[in-house]
């Protein structure tokens, strides 16, 4: 456990970077510090490894006041991932990862061997180990940064906007892998971001900082979204917070059976006739699956003649999928993103279970709200596994 006890940081020019911060960061969980620029979130994190010393108050790790520990020794025991990775440009990938073990006195050979294993762990090909950071993509650099922070197997990891410098697609990948990795490792992680979506996705707990270094709210993500502590938090979390909060609500969805066409087979007569409860416009779409009954795309039956063999070129791709155990947000998105107005629900093996319309998801949301008087409450489901494939 990391604890801040009445910690303040005032710079000589009178700027209050952090104001009387008291909070406890639980062991083995991800705690996200989120807030706008200048809210003291990075300053607070840097006080945990003494890169910044507090003006008042104490920071303790597992009860020990860290100001009594030698700074360099303390830092070697705390993993640190910085913005844009902060890799050493003059060292190869392998030597970057081996940095902390070498500082701790392990032989370079041992450290390199361990570093190679870590590359596997973060999903990097070992053929990259001899390259310099400049030869890697942004996403690869971030993975090296994570591997380097993990190298000494520290119980605590500090991550300062580690995924902010990569494009959204790579960021989502890195976030998913980070969640998977944390599932295996169970580190105590303090994660800094200015992106509330990232905070909600990754955090077990979220600390919202306001400008001037004030801790505005400290709660589980669902709590921050459904019951913002004050106007600042409500404003920061944004207008979509009701929709985002659906991420934490699981409901029983009445999945309708769906007629499917198998890729490569001929279109039968009558395909695309509207089913009950489906408009003609949506009904002309037929769901096409592969031989393993996994969804491949939607076919507009008015564009192809009967007896036509269905190929991938005929299909409108896209539409997210609702997986088992997923939230209502994912189900709603699946329905909204599908050309047929029907979201495809799949099971663990990725095969089609049936479909659901946005209207049906909304009814399920209403039902969930009714059965739970306080509305969208914290902790309905904290299943962090990404259900969208």
């Amino acid at each position: 456990m990391i604890s801040f006890e009445s910690v303040s940081k005032v710079y000589p020019d009178g700027t209050h970077a952090v104001e009387d911060l008291s909070l406890e960061i639980p062991t083995g969980r991800i705690t996200v510090f989120v807030g706008p620029s200048g809210c003291g979130k990075t300053t607070s994190v840097r006080m945990i490894n003494r890169m910044i010393e507090p003006t008042h108050g104490t920071v303790a790790i597992d009860g020990q006041d860290i100001s009594t520990v030698d700074a360099a020794t303390l830092r070697r025991g705390i993993g640190y991932v910085i913005q844009s990775a902060g890799l050493f440009p003059h060292r190869t990938v392998l030597d970057n990862v081996a940095t902390v073990p070498v500082l701790q006195g392990r032989s370079r050979r041992q450290a390199r061997a361990a570093a190679a294993e870590l590359l596997d762990r973060v999903g990097l090909d070992r053929t990259l180990s001899g390259r310099y950071p400049a030869q890697l993509s942004g996403g690869q650099q971030q993975r090296v940064g994570v591997a380097r922070a993990l190298a000494a197997d520290p119980p605590v990891m500090l991550m300062d906007e580690p995924f902010s410098a990569v494009d959204p697609v790579v960021r989502a990948q890195l976030q998913d892998e980070f969640i998977r990795l944390q599932g295996e490792l169970g580190k105590t992680i303090v994660f800094v971001t200015h992106d509330i979506d990232e905070a909600v996705k990754l955090g077990d707990l979220i600390a919202v900082f306001a400008v001037g270094g004030r801790l505005a709210q400290y709660a589980e993500p669902a709590g921050v979204l459904s019951r913002p502590a004050d106007d600042f938090v409500a404003d920061f979390v944004g207008r979509d917070r009701g929709y985002r909060a659906l991420s934490f609500v699981a409901g029983d969805l009445p999945v309708r059976p769906e007629q499917t066409l198998v890729l490569g087979e001929r279109v039968p007569p009558g395909a695309g006739a509207a089913a009950e409860g489906i408009s003609v416009d949506h009904g002309r779409w037929a769901l096409v699956v592969d031989t393993g009954h996994r969804p491949r795309g939607w076919l507009d039956c008015t564009t192809v003649p009967v007896d036509h063999r269905v190929t991938v070129e005929d299909l409108v791709l896209g539409g997210s999928l609702a997986g088992p155990g997923g939230s209502l947000r994912i189900a709603l998105d699946a329905a909204l993103s599908s050309p047929s107005g029907r979201g495809v629900a799949v099971d663990d093996a990725g095969t089609v279970v049936g479909t659901i319309t946005a209207g049906e998801v909304l009814s399920a949301i209403e039902q969930a709200r009714r059965s739970d008087a306080s509305g969208l409450t914290a902790g309905r489901t904290l299943d962090k596994q990404p259900a969208v494939r």
Binding site: N49, M51, A72, T73, L74, R75, R76, I78, Y80, I82, Q83, S84, G86, L87, F88, P89, H90, R91, T99, V100, L103, Q104, R131, Y132, A134, Q135, L136, R148, L158
Partner: protein, 216 residues
């Protein structure tokens, strides 16, 4: 060009060239070795930066001839001692490189330095194994200027009677004879080019990462 004169004095010219080489090379190396810690201090302690850079600038403006003449008095050396030349040129190199080293260290990305600190590097180890290597290309560029300027400055020392390629200019001037002057200029240029190439190659070999091109 009087080739016959050159041939006749071949041995003497070779001796002067060798003398010239060490009189220029030794101060370049010593000046660099001194500039590294002084530049590092100017970089690390901001309050010292202005003072050190100003002192270095003043030092560089002292005319070389004056320095050659004053040094024996200050150091108790004989006026003909080549050590005077070495010391003077070392000071010029130091003056030139202090700013280069300080600025080169300043130019190392702050994120890289911060990440070294966060990994648990102590300041000196971070300086020597992270910041200095990354500053090599900029320091190398400054060193090339210093080395070439030393090759040319050494010849001034001939006025004190310390023999090296400058002797060719004196000889040519006294005899009103152009061959030794041209030979002196060509040899100085050649030496400068060799020094420059050696530094360039050393920098290239010690910074393989700067040529690493994005793969795939």
């Amino acid at each position: 060009m009087n080739w016959e004169w050159l041939q006749r004095n071949e041995q003497q010219i070779l001796a002067w060239t060798l003398e010239h080489v060490w009189l220029a090379a030794v101060p370049t190396i010593l000046g660099l070795l001194l500039a590294l810690p002084v530049g590092a201090i100017a970089h690390r302690y901001r309050w010292s930066y202005g003072t050190l850079i100003t002192l270095a600038g003043l030092l560089y403006t002292i005319p070389s001839l004056a320095l050659f003449v004053v040094l024996p008095g200050l150091m108790g050396t004989r006026i003909l001692d080549p050590v005077n030349v070495v010391v003077a040129l070392t000071l010029y190199t130091l003056a030139l490189l202090v700013r280069v080293v300080a600025d080169a260290l300043d130019a190392v990305p702050p994120l890289v330095v911060a990440s070294a600190t966060a990994m648990g590097y102590k300041p000196l180890r971070s300086l020597v194994t992270v910041q200095l290597p990354l500053a090599i290309p900029v320091i190398g560029a400054g060193l090339r200027v210093a080395a070439v300027s030393n090759v040319s400055l050494v010849s001034v020392a001939v006025l004190l009677g310390i023999p090296q390629l400058g002797q060719l200019f004196i000889t040519g001037f006294q005899l009103d004879f152009f061959t030794p002057i041209i030979a002196g200029i060509v040899l100085c240029l050649l030496l400068a080019a060799i020094f420059d190439t050696i530094i360039l190659l050393t920098v290239r070999l010690s910074t393989p990462w700067t040529r690493a091109v994005p793969g795939r």
